[in-house]
């Protein structure tokens, strides 16, 4: 793949975006001095096109487009190893959270990932049922991702062991959860929250 030259100027370094990341993650991006310890210990680094330290580096340069266009942030396992070992207390796992959140509305962000679909279904389940409904989550995921046969062999075994519940009782206080979701949506609409 041909890599585009990075033109750096005050216009191309999106400082506002970086500030949003810092506000959401509660951590400083500038503190990173690129020692690479995060990438050294990341269990998922081999799956990423930008290893974790480079994600921070690109952020320091305000080049979020390069980060969000790729899949690195979606291959973060949220294991917190990077945050734990960072010599500068840069909470990289939180930065990853912030980047994924900001990718919702970001132009050119990677959309195709299975991880995103799984996340979406997971949150929908909470909204609908109050709790996770594992059986439904797996079934819907397979349908929506077009992998009808994925983990097919596991199903009967799990059912036999009582690990997959066919039915799921709803919480009695479901209206409260719906209110939380809708209040957050309203806050975002009014610009009261990122």
């Amino acid at each position: 793949m041909k890599k585009k030259k990075m033109i750096i100027s005050q216009e191309t370094m999106d400082v506002d975006f970086v500030r949003k990341v810092e506000a959401l993650s509660g951590t400083s991006v500038r503190r990173c001095f690129q020692c690479g310890k995060c990438s050294a210990g990341c269990p998922m680094a081999t799956f990423m096109e930008h290893p974790p330290n480079r994600v921070v580096r690109l952020l320091q340069l305000g080049q979020w487009q390069r980060i969000l266009a790729g899949r690195s942030i979606w291959y973060c396992a949220s294991c917190e190893t990077c945050s734990t070992r960072c010599p500068n207390k840069v909470h990289l796992a939180s930065i990853m959270d912030a980047l994924r959140k900001l990718s919702w509305d970001a132009e050119g962000a990677s959309k195709e990932s299975y991880v995103q679909l799984a996340n979406k279904l997971f949150l929908q389940n909470i909204r609908t049922y109050g709790r996770q409904y594992e059986m439904r989550l797996a079934a819907v995921f397979n349908v929506k991702s077009g992998q009808f046969l994925k983990d097919l062999m596991l199903g009967p075994k799990l059912l036999a062991k009582g690990k997959l519940k066919m039915f799921h009782s709803k919480n009695k206080n479901m209206s409260e959860i719906e209110k939380i979701f809708s209040r957050i949506e309203a806050m975002r609409k009014n610009g009261e929250a990122l």
Binding site: G26, A77, S83
Partner: protein
Amino acid sequence: MEKPLNYSYYPGCSLHASAGEYDLSTRELFKALNIQLTEIPDWFCCGATPAHNVDELLSLSLCAKNLELADQIEGDVAVACAACFSRLKTAQHVLGESAVKRKQVEKALDAPLKLDGNVKHLLEILAKDFGLERLAAAVNKPLTGLKVACYYGCLLTRPTDVPNLDCVEAPTIMEKVIEAVGATTVPWTHRMECCGANFTLSRPGVVIQLTGAVLDSAKAAGADCIMVGCPLCHGNLDIRQKEIEGVYNVQYGLPVFYLTQLVGLSVGLGSDKLGMDAMIVNPTPLLREKNLL
């Protein structure tokens, strides 16, 4: 007589489904130890990794809501799942540090926040509140000769200053608990490496690679079995073990126990009360060999 310990109990979604044996063994063990658990009525999902992954505000709000529900019941909050434990602790930490986020969550809940509940993982309750000496005294079938690889995974100790369960890089709490009931623990290299739980649904290939490395390490260290305190780790290590064996053409045959199953065994609970039959990798041969059944 000492006052019995009281907790509000947050089982989390997995314990009501794929990790039913964790729920069962927890309730039975705590009953046997005279520790009272009162399940939080109508608790919600904590949002787990998917929520904070893309929507921290939602994650914080769900956790704050659960802490509010837990507040109705006397006692600290007992949490079984490492992921739920991590989320609830993180919410307390983040909302304690950021006034902005606290305001937003208050608005989402439309209520003042009740965050002061002491959130404790079962390990903490057994090791610290109940105490290792009392635990040892409660044993009537010591797990002598059973070589256990204690698997912490990611979320029990990380990151620094948040769960504060034990040393973030070199914890010993699991080993202490299981050694107190007579088992032997093995030192091994991957007890804190990630199993890839986040990708169980979306990218099983990742799980096979990461969990495979964990199983490899436990086997190489000479363990008979693995002990976990997290239903997500359990899912990968137990349910996918066979598949991993197939992919790499190896034989592990490592039963994966919840800590409450093994401790329960040592205090004399029968395997029916510990949900041993729900385990995919059959533990019976191992337990027979060690005279524990």
